[in-house]
Amino acid sequence: MSDSIFVQYIWLVPAVSLLAAVITAIAGNRWLKQQAWLPCMLAAAFGAVWSALALVVVAQADEPVAFVPVLEWLTVSDLRVAYELLVDPLSALMLFMVTFVGSLIVAFASWYMAHEEGYARFFSEVALFLFSMTSLVLVANLLMLYVFWELVGLCSYLLIGFYYTRPCAAAAAKKAFVVNRIGDFGFALGIFLIWVTCGTLSYRQVLAVDQGLQQLTAAGPAVLTTVCLLLFCGAVGKSAQFPLHVWLPDAMEGPTPVSALIHAATMVTAGVYMVARFTPLFAQAAGVGTVVLVIGCVTAFIAAFTALTQTDFKRILAYSTISQLGYMFMALGIGTVAGAVAAIFHVFTHAFFKALLFLGSGSVMHATGGELNVWRMGGLRKYLPVTHWTFLCAALALAGFPLLSGFWSKDAILATVWQASGAATQLAGAVGLITAALTAFYIGRAYFLVFWGEPRDRAIEEQVEHYVRDEAHGPPEPLIMKAPLIVLAVGSVLVGAVIALAFGGLVPFLAGAYGVEPLAHATAEHDAHGHAWGMMLLSAVVALAGLGLAYVFYGQPSPWPDRLAEQLAPLYRISVNKFWLDELGLILVVRPMLAIAAACRVLDNVLVDGLVHAVAAVPAWFARLALRPMHNGLVPFYALAMLLGLAVILTLVLFQIQGG
């Protein structure tokens, strides 16, 4: 398999994106003005096609893992860091997802960002993001993974801070980067620990059962657990899990295509990909599985619960992303290959419908002139038909409407969670089901509030009508915008079913990545299916219940939402205030740090500087005290001093000589 050109030249995908980024950055403003999106689009499209073909090659190959060395980046005696790519089912799948969804979003963005001020800058940063994301999923060296991990963080910083003149955007960008850095802090330490224990950073050795894994386990149980926990810490930072998820809702300050591409489909899944990639390590590490499970579960529930009462359209979707990521980490927490495969399956389907949801919100925002408050919109289905129908498909998929892709992937996760033994997993399964219901409810709420009912705000309604009728800036829903929506809608409807039925839930395909006999595994999987039918039924019922409730509450004007809000006032307040996590973070982390900083500053001026001046003052003080009064101007005193000195010395010398 490694001889096929698609695998051998897989490095072309990131290379082309990098080239596009450089070209757009240099030539963007001056020559490409309106066509600045083309290089990025071409790169993404080329990447999509190339990775699709690579995926096909990998799928057919019997020995699906191939290492593609590209260049030696840095060698210092025993440290060898090489830009070496690994093509195997997992990375090929992720690569295809990133490039395919990426190209659709870039197409949409070319329309959406058409009249923005930094048009070329946007597309060069997106191209740079595609380069770093594709490299991240392909690279086969832990340090290079860290390099692109940080580069992806940089791109999200630049793109969130795209409207840099808006203070809240700048603050959100900084917050995103710093929180990511906190995650990377743990990730870096994990890498260092691996390097110190295994002496190498290349996946080839670290993931090899006989070498890396054996050295890690040999180094004692604590080392492997610490390594996995530290790596997971990086994943928590990047994929916005419980303690470090505060940056994702603020990241919505960036333009919507960015939210779709980075903060929904690709970057946030980097953490899931990394944990999936290192599942062999996580499986061996005692206790780490439960930590991942718990964190995933807590994140899923909190995010879903907060999303219930959010008024900002994009923030609802942001919390929904966090919640879905929580699901994926729940699956990964099981620690089995099945769990990892389920998580990746969900990543794949989630990319489609979440990207579609965001693009839908983008087109809505475009129509309402940047208005995001869900309560001020309403009845937009008349004006934006394509957006409405595609949004509906995505919403149903997210809610887990039977037979749609969300249903299959979420069900796979819930199935693996329920099958796994242990009390924690049973509890997690229950929470998973509740969260599924909440998911269905809040996405239904968002859908009905935005698209159904009567427009609640006159100003917004005129704005939308004016937008739809006025041909000045082209049709409300031009083809370049509709095409990606439709493709994504088809994807979010069919992908789940196709994969679940035709490819056996990706299990045989991805098993190759973990060096497990695909066949043996498949059979084990099959008999478990019987039990799964019950699970499918249950999750379908839960989804429909959620959607129905949402229709009851928001489909048509009803007093229920307000009445419920009063009765469950405390819960409502918790949800609206997002569990006060932002404020907690401020009080527990940021304020003390700034206080310590101020203390350090004062300490520096007073203590350390004072100490130095004190040392410098000692000689001056001694002179003033002892030496200066000696000169009192009296001749006899001077004579006395001289004579006494002479006499004493004379005595000493004479007695010394005489051997006295």
């Binding site: 840099y164 003149t165 330490l189 260092f192």
Partner: protein, 522 residues
């Protein structure tokens, strides 16, 4: 080809004398200064390209002549793996310094540029010196021009800052002189011959175990103050705040490296046993320096002070890397010296440019500068990202190597130092957010409206090469690391050799004679 180094080092001094004596106008003197520094830059770049990587442990381009009579002190210049990259750094930053003070220095420009060129010779001399006395002469000589630059063209409190800087640094380096003298004597006692060549002294002298720690402390005193290591840093913020832009660029860019260069040239190879012993508390000081520098930087209002404390934090990294005494640590330390020089030099130049336009350094005064000066904003963004160690730029390579080395030495120190990176990201990006992003508000708008244009040619010419160097080191570090690796191997072998013997509590002389000094044959 050995004259290449000689001319690069001596030529600025001749130009300085010319600028000083001839009655040149402001324009002429700055033109001569720019010309001379450019010549040096070109020469050092050629030197780096012609440098033979395999023989990096041995001094190349050696030019030696007897200075104090026969067989005694020699005026010997040469470059080896350790000092190779510091030469182009010094010449590049001098060019940047000349360019960044193109418009800002009005009165006494002739004297200013003469001193700047003298400082360049001093810096290059320290890095290229092969003779211990010549090293110390240049080591002290660099203080004088900078003292006058800060003292005459500085800010309001310049005299106090200049005096404090001079005395503080000089007090430390006097102890170092004592240390170096002891080495000479120790060598004489052991071999019976007087030699002043650094390579022979450092690699062939056996320091008796009881004197090792004492010698280490003596050397540490001088170099630690210059680095500056944590408790000895209070002169730096004051000197930077008061120094003119060019002074700050060179002070932060190169003079701080004299300390770490001293460590790597003398302390590490000479008394490795003591370095092992001292690692715990040196690492603590370094880590405190990292965290303390970062935290104090966070609380600063004045940009220059913020950058000064950030350079304390970065140099803390350097020291941590050097004293971890393994290949990665030392390679990271040496590389971080160059990286920090580039990043902080550029930052100070940028602060200088802002100061020339608005005559204020308070962060609170600036907001939304990116809209007014997009080119400056882009360049500042790159330099800020380089200084917080973002992959793809030079800071990352240095810091990762240091942290890997430090982690091998002691995981606690590495963990705390990595926390330093997070703090670094916080205060640097806060600076970017508050000064360059957010809604546009020019400090004292209108009064300086005309000069508030985006970067002029001389400012661009100053920053572009640095940014290019940052990308080059960040994207292709092999080129740099492999040229210093052999020199570092010698140090690491000596320290592992000694530490292995240390366990037998008897220091035996290094069996494999260190690279025979080619210093004799020119």
């Amino acid at each position: 080809m050995h004259w290449l180094l000689l001319i690069a080092v001596v030529q600025p001094a001749l130009a300085a004398i010319a600028v000083g004596l001839l009655p040149l106008s402001r324009g002429q003197s700055r033109a001569v200064a720019l010309g001379s520094s450019l010549v040096s830059l070109v020469l050092t770049v050629i030197l780096c390209l012609k440098f033979d990587p395999q023989a990096a442990a041995r001094a190349q381009f050696v030019w030696a002549v007897d200075w104090f009579g026969e067989g005694g002190v020699r005026f010997a210049l040469g470059v080896d793996g350790l000092s190779l990259w510091l030469l182009p750094l010094s010449t590049l930053l001098t060019v940047v310094a000349v360019l960044s003070s193109w418009e800002s220095i009005r009165d006494g420009a002739r004297g200013f540029y003469a001193l700047l060129l003298l400082l360049e010779t001093g810096m290059l001399g320290v890095f290229a010196a092969l003779d211990i006395v010549l090293f110390y002469v240049f080591f002290e000589f660099t203080l004088i021009p900078l003292f006058f630059i800060i003292g005459i063209w500085g800010g309001p409190e310049r005299r106090f800052a200049a005096v404090k800087f001079l005395i503080y640094t000089f007090a430390g380096s006097v102890l170092t002189a004592a240390g170096l003298l002891y080495v000479l004597v120790a060598h004489y006692n052991e071999h019976g011959t007087w030699t002043f060549d650094i390579a022979t002294l450092v690699y062939q002298t056996t320091i008796p175990t009881e004197a090792q720690m004492l010698l280490f402390l003596a050397l540490f005193a001088g170099f630690a103050i210059k680095v500056p290591v944590f408790p000895f840093h209070t002169w730096l913020p004051l000197a930077h705040v008061e120094a003119p832009t060019a002074g700050s660029v060179l002070l932060a860019g190169v003079l701080l490296k004299l300390g770490t260069y001293g460590f790597v040239r003398f302390s590490l190879p000479l008394v490795p046993g003591a370095c092992h012993e001292a690692f715990p508390w040196v690492a603590t000081l370094a880590v405190i320096g990292v965290l303390y520098g970062a935290l104090t930087a966070m609380a600063q209002e004045d940009i220059k002070r913020l950058v000064a404390y950030s350079s304390i934090s970065h140099m803390g990294f350097c020291v941590l890397g050097l004293f971890s005494l393994n290949h990665q640590g030392i390679a990271g330390g040496v590389l971080q010296m160059v990286n920090h020089g580039l990043a902080t030099g550029a930052l100070f130049a940028i602060v200088g440019m802002l100061y020339d336009r608005y005559h204020t350094r308070m962060i609170a005064d600036y907001s939304g500068m990116a809209r007014i000066m997009p080119r400056l904003a882009v360049l500042t963004m790159v330099v800020v990202l380089a200084s917080i160690g973002l992959p793809g730029l030079n800071g990352f390579v240095g810091e990762v190597l240091i942290l890997l080395g430090a982690f091998k030495a002691s995981w606690v120190a590495a963990m705390l130092a990595t926390a330093g990176i997070v703090l670094g990201a916080y205060y640097m990006l806060t600076l970017m957010q508050r000064a360059f992003f957010g809604e546009v508000r020019e400090p004292l708008a209108g009064e300086h409206a005309e000069s508030a244009g985006d970067l002029r040619w001389h400012e661009l010419a100053a920053l572009i090469p640095i940014v290019a160097a940052c990308f080059w080191i960040g994207l292709w570090p092999r080129f740099f690391v492999e040229r210093m690796a052999p020199a570092i191997d010698v140090i690491v072998n000596r320290s592992t050799q000694v530490s292995r013997n240390e366990s037998t509590s008897k220091v035996i002389r290094l069996v494999r004679r260190a690279p025979s000094p080619e210093a004799r044959g020119s």
